[in-house]
């Protein structure tokens, strides 16, 4: 379910070759420039902090909570948010904050797999289509058009039906559903770079096709595809959590974010925190990655 509209201009496809996104900061001057860039954009700084926290939580959940996400204390069920239980407790007396923190790992893993599948498969299709051209381009791009014609969620659901349930399968299903947009952007970039003078020069000086591709075309075409991957990260979190909300993700009691909300749904009338707060975690993460994607998409290279 691709929520963000990926139109070509938003990804800066019209950008000429030489103003591609700047390289990662290496020297001390670049670090200072990065810090100043962030300091002028408090929203972006906050987004980076949120994302760092989520990544930390998925690798070392113990940093944030010492409570067991699976062990419940029945005597303490349905406690509202408090100093001891930040997100309250659920129907079995399990600490919801701890479940959200431990769920980050599952949800982030699924999202990473989804983005990786879309990036690799879509990127490969696009690069082959753009670099080889001729009838290969025609055939591959018609195929991509067909993928685009099936709504992403329906595509994911069909794949879930075929593959079965589980975090990894859901992730693959979500990834395949966004292959088409990656293929389009990658192809457009390869076509753009292929016409550049330096590619012509390297061809003229007798470089083999694979060295032209690997040394010149791919590094220069990567920028917008990486921006798309950042954007896709946000929409994949949403798609993965929607599928696990519908019940196709990890089996209980695994604390996947979508599953947490679907569990809390049964107690909506008496325990709002069971749905509201895990949802807030999803929304904050998606918002943060979308903001970072916007910064990568030209804001960094456009600064004075």
């Amino acid at each position: 379910m691709s929520q963000s509209l990926v139109d070509d201009t938003a990804l800066g496809l019209a950008r000429p070759v030489d103003t591609a996104p700047g390289p990662e900061p290496r020297s001390r001057g670049d670090v200072r420039r990065l810090l100043r860039f962030l300091a002028r954009r408090p929203g972006l700084l906050l987004s980076v902090v949120v994302l760092v926290l989520v990544v930390l939580a998925s690798f070392w959940p113990g940093l944030f909570t010492s409570q067991d996400p699976l062990k419940g204390v029945p005597a303490q069920n349905f406690r509202g948010p408090s100093a001891h239980h930040w997100f309250g407790t659920d129907e079995l007396g399990r600490d919801v904050f701890s479940r959200v923190v431990h769920g980050a790992q599952l949800s982030l893993k699924a999202t990473l797999i989804a983005v990786l599948v879309a990036f690799v498969v879509g990127g490969l299709l696009g690069v082959v289509a753009g670099f080889v051209g001729r009838w290969v381009d025609d055939v591959l791009m018609r195929f991509v058009d067909v993928l685009l014609s099936i709504p992403a969620l329906f595509m994911s659901l069909a794949l879930v039906t075929a593959l079965g349930y589980g975090t990894v399968k859901v992730a693959v299903a979500v990834g395949i559903a966004s292959v088409a947009s990656f293929a389009r952007v990658a192809r457009a970039e390869v076509l753009r770079v292929r016409q550049a003078v330096f590619v012509e020069a390297s061809r003229a000086s007798g470089a083999r096709w694979y060295s032209v591709l690997g040394r010149h075309v791919l590094p220069n075409a990567a920028g917008p595809v990486i921006v798309l991957a950042t954007l896709d990260f946000g929409s994949s979190i949403l798609a993965v959590s929607a599928l696990s909300f519908l019940g196709y993700g990890a089996p209980p009691p695994a604390p996947e974010w979508g599953t947490l909300i679907s569990d809390g749904r049964n107690y909506l009338a008496n325990a709002w925190w069971l749905t509201a707060l895990p949802g807030l975690a999803i929304a904050a993460t998606v918002l943060a990655t979308n903001r970072i994607a916007r910064a990568l998409d030209g804001e960094w290279s456009r600064q004075p």
Partner: protein, 319 residues
């Protein structure tokens, strides 16, 4: 013009055929053995009668070569027959046809809300001279595309059904039951409408004809609506096809949240029961909606924008 229409129609049919083929590959070919999947769906473990499997296999034609199966299935699908649902035994086409009106009501209302709210937001945000109001309004669409739909729905239920008792929390009854689900479904779509329209409004406001209109003394609001919005809404029209497909697919989540009957709930149930013919029907139907909307947009576009002429080679181009 006629050649253009015929060419676009042929393209649409081609895409539909290819979408059917993709769904066939994914659903009938990928699982390896759909019959075992179907027979064991709803059962506890691998306790499946081999005779039953053989019978099913024959009934669905899985004992024939893949290409023969494909040709037979395609032939039936062209005539609107997608087989029978495995879980209910009813024909897929009539199951979908029965569920459709409820979902069309929901998605139609949601589309209307999305265009009104999203469009209104874009118009006001580009019209206002108050910096804070503009900043506030323009920060809403990125928020709208970042929140999970099911979460928004549950929060609305919590607030308006359980606290305020204004609207029912679930069910299909009447207009009151339609408000919350339609609003939920409209949030991500409306946010996208707002993003696209705000961008094209800003581009339109930079054009020379706006300056001319202002110089001739037309008041700001009139320039904004009559001149800028009319031209800016055309590019926004091109994303409608995408949005309609999204709305139909979004009904799966929204109808589940609000326990409404409709296409979305049929789909969710079909996936849970691994009801392959039914899921396939839904996928092809989704593609049909997408292709039809885009076809209509493409055919209407030259009528709305006289600058678009249909060249003799059958392609629409900017004159």
């Amino acid at each position: 013009m006629r050649r253009y229409v015929i060419k676009r129609l042929a393209q649409a049919v081609g895409v539909l055929w290819a979408a059917y083929t993709v769904s066939f590959l994914v659903l009938d070919y990928l699982p390896g053995d759909p019959v075992t999947a179907m027979a064991s769906a709803g059962m506890d473990s691998g306790q499946v009668d081999p005779q039953q499997i053989a019978a099913l296999r024959h009934e669905y034609g899985f004992d024939k070569p893949v290409l023969v199966q494909y040709a037979e299935y395609l032939g039936r699908a062209v005539r609107g027959d997608f087989g029978d649902s495995v879980s209910t035994g009813r024909a897929v086409t009539s199951t979908l046809a029965d569920a459709l009106p409820q979902t069309l009501q929901l998605t139609g209302t949601a589309l209307l809300l999305a265009v009104l709210l999203g469009g209104g937001l874009a118009v006001v945000a580009t019209y206002t001279t108050q910096r804070w109001l503009r900043q506030l309004l323009l920060s809403l669409p990125p928020l709208g595309v970042s929140v999970p739909t099911f979460w928004v729905g549950l929060l609305l239920v919590e607030l308006f059904s359980f606290r305020l008792h204004w609207f029912p929390a679930f069910g299909n009854d009447g207009l009151r039951g339609l408000v919350l689900p339609a609003l939920t479904l409209a949030v991500p779509t409306g946010a996208q409408v707002a993003q696209v329209l705000a961008k094209s409004l800003l581009t339109a406001l930079d054009q020379a004809y706006i300056e001319t209109a202002r110089a001739k003394g037309a008041d700001r609001w009139r320039v904004h609506l009559r001149h800028a919005l009319r031209n800016a809404s055309l590019p926004a029209l091109t994303v409608v096809g995408l949005l309609v497909g999204q709305l139909i697919a979004g009904s799966v989540v929204v109808e589940t949240v609000f326990s409404r009957d409709g296409l979305g709930r049929v789909t969710a149930a079909a996936v849970t029961a691994q009801d392959i013919p039914l899921v396939q029907g839904v996928v092809v139907f989704g593609a049909l909606i997408f292709v039809t909307t885009n076809l209509v947009v493409d055919l209407v576009y030259p009528l709305l924008d006289p600058r678009i002429v249909v060249a003799s080679n059958g392609r629409a181009a900017l004159a």
